[in-house]
Amino acid sequence: MTTLALFEPGLYHLVGVSIALLAAGVAVILTKRNAVGILMGVELILNAAGINFVAFNNYVWDNAMDGQMFTLFIIVLAAAEAAVALAIFLNFYNNFDTINVDQADELQG
C-alpha cells in the first residue's frame, strides 16, 4: 500500500471521524451551561451516529440502503427534537428569565 493509499478514505477513517464527533458532543453537553449549547452537543452526537450508519452501509452492506434510511430518519428526528427543545427552552426562559440550566434546580433533593 502506498502512503497515499493509507489516506484513502475507508470504514475506519469514517468511524474515526464519528468517534471524534461523539467525544466532542459529550464534552459539549457536559461543559456548556447554556441550554442551546447542550442542544448543539446533542446534534453532534446524532451526526456521529448518522456517519456511522452511512459508513457501515457503504462499506459492509452496499447492496442495501437501510443505513441511509436510518440516517434520514435521524435527521427528521433531530429536526423534531430541535423544535421541541427550543420550545421548552423558550418556556424555561420565560419562567426563569435565564437560559442557564444550572438554575433549573427545583428538583434538588
Binding site: I29, L30, I38, V101, D102, D105, Q108, G109
Partner: protein, 707 residues
C-alpha cells in the same frame, strides 16, 4: 250470665269481640300516627294546621273508643284478651316462647279508653287556643298525642312487659311536656324532678315485677288467656280469698313494690313533690296530667294489682293514701297560686282514690278517677284561661271579681267546684263527684270497721277532708271570681277567653254534672263486682257497699250537706280578700304554726334536700376523707415504689433503648443527607452520570464479549 252458649251465639260473641278489638286498637294507635305525622310533617307542611290535624285524629280516636264502649256495654260482653307474638325470647326444639303484644278488654278498659280519649280531645282543642303563637306550636301537639298514646297503651296493655313499656313512655312524654318551655329555669328543674321521682317509683315497679318473675316463673310474661294478668296470678295462687287468708310474704313485698310504681306516677306521699312543680309546664299539660293520663295511670295500676294485694299490702296502700289525702288538702288551703291550689287538690283526690283501692272499694276509686278527670280537667282549663288572660299572673292575690269579665269561665269553674265538693242531699245529687266520693267513704267505713281501734282514722280522715275540700275550692273560687278586683290594672285587661278554650271547658263542666252515672253502667259493674266477690267469700271485702248500707242514709247527709255548709263558709271568708282569714290566723292559737308548715309544703322539699341531697354530699365527703387518708396512703407508698422503678426503667429507656432508636434514626438521616447530594436537581450532573453509566456499561459489555 252463666247460660248455655250455643254455637251461633258464640260466633256472634266472637264477631262482637272482633269489632271491639279493632276499634280499641284503632283508638290506641291513631294518636301515635298523629304524633308521628305532626313530628315529620308539622313544621314543613302542616304548620298552623298541626293543631287542627291532631284534633281531628284525636276525634276519630275518641269516636272509636266511644263506639267500642257502647258496643261492649250494650252487648253485655264479657272481658276478653287478644295477643300477637312480639319478641321471641327463646327459640328451642320444643317451640318458641314469646313476649306478646296484646289487648285486654273489660268494663274498666273501655270506660277508661272513652274517658282518656275524650279528655285528650278536649285538651287538644283547648291547646289550639292556648298554645297559639308559641314558637314550637306543632311540636306541642306531637308530644301531646304521644302522651295520649302512651296512656292508652297502659290502659289496653295485656302483659306486664307491655304495661311497663307504656309506663315508661308516659314518663318520657310527661318529661317532654312539663319541660316544654325548657328555655326557662323552672320547667327545666320541674321536668327533671318529675322524671327522677318517677324513676324512683319505677324501680319499685321493676323490683315487684322481678319478684313475681322469680316466684312464678316465665308465665308472668305471657298474657293470661282470660282476665287481666293479675287476675291470672291471683288465680294461680288460689284466688283473692286464699291470698287474703294465707298471704305469702313475698307477695306482700311484690304488691308493695308494684304499688311504688303507682306512688311515683300518681304522686302519692313520699314521691308527691313533683306534681305541684309540674305546674311549670303549659296549662293544657297540667290539665291532662292531672286528669286523664299520668296520675290516672297510677290509680289504674293499683286497681289492676288489686287481686294480688295481701292484707298487709292493703294496709300499706291505705296509709299512703290517707297521708297524701290529709296533707295535700291542708296545703291546698294555704296556697295562693291558683294552679298550685288545684295541684294539691289533685293530690288530695288521688289520695281518696288510692285509699279507696286500698280499702277494697276499688270500683268506686275508679269511678272517682273518671269523675275527677272531668272536673279537674275543667278546673285546670279554667285556671289556664284566667292565667292566659291575666298575662301569666298566677297569684290569686292579684285576682278578684273576674266573674264579671269572664262569666262562662266562672260558670264552668263554679260547677266543677260544686262537683268536687260532692254537694248532695240525702242520697241524691246531680253532681257526679258526690257519688264517687260517697262510695269511697263507704268503702273506708267498712275497712275501718274491720280494722277497729286506730283503724278508724281511715274513716275519719276522708270525712274531714270531705269538709276541707269544699272550703279550699270555695276559697279559690271566691278569691278569683268574686269580690272586688285587687289589681285594677290586671282586671281592666282581662276578657273572656277565645272559643276554642271556652267550649271545651263548658263541655267538661257538663260532663262533670250529668257525667258518668248515667252514661256508663256503673250500677251494673258494682253488681257484678259484688257478685263475684261474694261468690269468692272474701270476708271483709264482701261488704263493699253492703255493710255500709245501714248507714247509707246518714253518711251522705253527713258530708253532702256539710260540704255545702263549708262551701258557704269558704265563700263568705274569702269573698272580700284575705282580711277575715288573717284575723282568724291571729286569734286562733296554733293555727299560725300549721299555716306556716302547710305553706312550706310540710318541709318535704327541705326534708328531701337534707336527707338525700345533703346526706349524699356528706357521705361523699366521708368517702373523700377515707379516700384521701386511707387509700391514698397506700396508693402513695405504691406510688413511690413505682416512681423508683420508673426512674430505673426511664434511665434504661433513655440511655439504651433511645440510644438504639436515635442511632438508627441518625444513621438514616446521615444516609439521607449523603444520598441527598446525589440529587442536585441539575441537568448537567444527571447527564454526566448518564455518561459515566454509559462508560461503565460499555466496559462491562466489552469484558463480556472479549472475555
Amino acid at each position: 250470665m252463666h247460660t248455655l252458649i250455643t254455637l251461633a251465639q258464640l260466633t256472634a260473641v266472637e264477631a262482637d269481640q272482633e269489632t271491639v278489638r279493632k276499634l280499641l286498637v284503632w283508638a290506641t294507635l291513631l294518636p301515635l300516627v298523629s304524633s308521628i305525622m305532626v313530628l315529620f310533617l308539622g313544621t314543613r307542611y302542616l304548620k298552623k294546621q298541626a293543631g287542627t290535624f291532631a284534633c281531628v285524629v284525636m276525634g276519630i280516636s275518641f269516636a272509636c273508643a266511644i263506639l267500642a264502649a257502647f258496643k261492649f256495654t250494650s252487648g253485655n260482653m264479657e272481658s276478653f284478651t287478644w295477643k300477637i307474638p312480639w319478641i321471641p325470647i327463646y327459640m328451642g326444639k320444643d317451640g318458641a316462647s314469646w313476649l306478646y303484644l296484646g289487648l285486654f278488654c273489660d268494663q274498666l278498659t273501655v270506660a277508661l279508653m272513652a274517658m282518656v280519649t275524650g279528655i285528650s280531645l278536649l285538651v287538644h282543642i283547648y291547646s289550639v287556643g292556648y298554645m297559639e303563637g308559641d314558637k314550637r306550636y306543632e311540636r306541642f301537639f306531637c308530644y301531646l298525642s304521644a302522651f295520649t298514646f302512651s296512656m292508652l297503651g297502659i290502659v289496653t296493655a295485656n302483659g306486664l312487659m307491655q304495661l311497663f313499656v307504656f309506663w315508661e313512655l308516659v314518663g318520657l312524654t310527661s318529661y317532654l311536656l312539663i319541660g316544654f318551655w325548657f328555655e326557662k329555669k323552672g320547667p327545666q328543674l320541674a321536668c327533671k324532678k318529675a322524671f327522677v321521682m318517677n324513676r324512683v317509683g319505677d324501680t319499685g315497679f321493676l323490683i315487684g315485677f322481678g319478684i313475681l318473675f322469680v316466684q312464678l316463673g316465665g308465665k308472668v310474661l305471657v298474657p293470661a288467656a282470660d282476665g287481666s294478668m293479675f287476675d291470672a296470678i291471683a288465680a294461680e295462687l288460689g284466688g283473692k280469698a286464699a291470698i287474703m287468708e294465707h298471704p305469702p310474704m313475698w307477695l306482700t313485698v311484690a304488691g308493695i313494690c308494684l304499688f311504688f310504681g303507682a306512688i311515683g306516677k300518681s304522686a302519692q306521699f313520699p314521691l308527691h313533690t313533683w306534681l305541684p312543680d309540674a305546674m311549670e309546664g303549659p296549662t293544657p299539660v297540667s290539665s291532662i296530667v292531672h286528669s286523664a293520663t299520668m296520675v290516672a295511670a297510677g290509680v289504674y295500676l293499683t286497681a289492676r294489682i288489686f287481686p294480688i294485694l295481701t292484707p298487709a299490702a292493703h294496709l300499706f296502700v291505705c296509709i299512703i293514701g290517707l297521708i297524701t289525702l290529709v296533707m295535700a288538702s291542708m296545703m291546698a288551703m294555704v296556697m295562693t297560686d291558683i294552679k298550685r291550689v288545684l295541684a294539691y287538690s289533685t293530690l288530695s283526690q288521688l289520695g281518696y282514690m288510692i285509699l279507696g283501692v286500698g280499702s277494697g272499694a276499688y270500683i268506686f276509686a275508679l269511678f272517682h278517677l273518671i269523675t275527677h278527670a272531668f272536673f279537674k280537667c275543667c278546673l285546670f282549663q279554667c285556671s289556664g284561661s284566667v292565667i292566659n288572660m291575666a298575662h301569666h299572673q298566677q297569684d290569686m292575690r292579684y285576682y278578684g271579681g273576674l266573674a264579671k269579665k269572664m262569666p262562662l269561665t266562672a260558670l264552668a269553674y263554679g260547677i266543677c267546684t260544686l262537683t268536687i265538693s260532692g254537694i248532695g242531699i240525702g242520697s241524691f245529687s246531680i253532681f257526679s263527684g258526690f257519688y264517687s266520693k260517697d262510695g269511697i267513704i263507704l268503702g273506708t267505713y267498712n275497712y275501718a270497721h274491720e280494722l277497729g281501734g286506730l283503724g278508724s282514722l281511715f274513716f275519719w280522715g276522708p270525712v274531714i277532708v270531705a269538709y276541707i275540700t269544699p272550703f279550699y275550692m270555695a276559697r279559690s273560687f271566691a278569691l278569683t271570681f268574686l269580690g272586688k278586683p285587687r289589681d285594677q290594672h290586671l282586671y281592666d285587661h282581662v276578657k273572656e277567653a277565645p272559643k276554642t278554650m271556652v267550649v271545651p271547658q263548658l263541655i267538661l263542666a257538663l260532663c262533670a254534672i250529668i257525667s258518668v252515672p248515667w252514661l256508663l253502667p256503673w250500677e251494673q259493674m258494682i253488681e257484678v263486682t259484688r257478685e263475684t266477690l261474694v261468690n269468692k267469700n272474701v270476708t271483709w271485702i264482701q261488704g263493699i257497699p253492703t255493710h255500709a248500707e245501714h248507714h247509707h242514709i246518714a253518711l251522705p247527709l253527713l258530708f253532702g250537706l256539710a260540704g255545702a255548709l263549708m262551701l258557704a263558709v269558704g265563700i263568705w271568708m274569702y269573698k272580700d280578700g284575705f282580711g277575715k282569714a288573717e284575723y282568724l290566723l291571729k286569734k286562733v292559737p296554733g293555727l299560725k304554726l300549721l299555716y306556716t308548715w302547710a305553706l312550706n309544703k310540710f318541709y318535704f322539699d327541705h326534708l328531701y334536700d337534707v336527707f338525700f341531697v345533703k346526706m349524699t354530699k356528706c357521705f361523699a365527703a366521708i368517702c373523700n376523707f377515707i379516700d384521701k387518708w386511707g387509700f391514698d396512703g397506700l396508693v402513695n407508698v405504691a406510688g413511690h415504689w413505682t416512681k423508683g422503678l420508673a426512674w430505673f426503667t426511664g434511665a434504661f429507656d433513655n440511655k439504651v433503648v433511645d440510644g438504639l432508636v436515635n442511632g438508627a434514626a441518625n444513621s438514616a438521616r446521615a444516609g439521607g443527607q449523603a444520598l441527598r447530594t446525589t440529587q442536585p436537581g441539575r441537568i448537567r450532573v444527571y447527564v454526566s452520570l448518564l455518561f459515566v453509566g454509559l462508560v461503565i456499561a460499555l466496559m462491562f459489555a466489552m469484558t463480556l464479549v472479549t472475555g
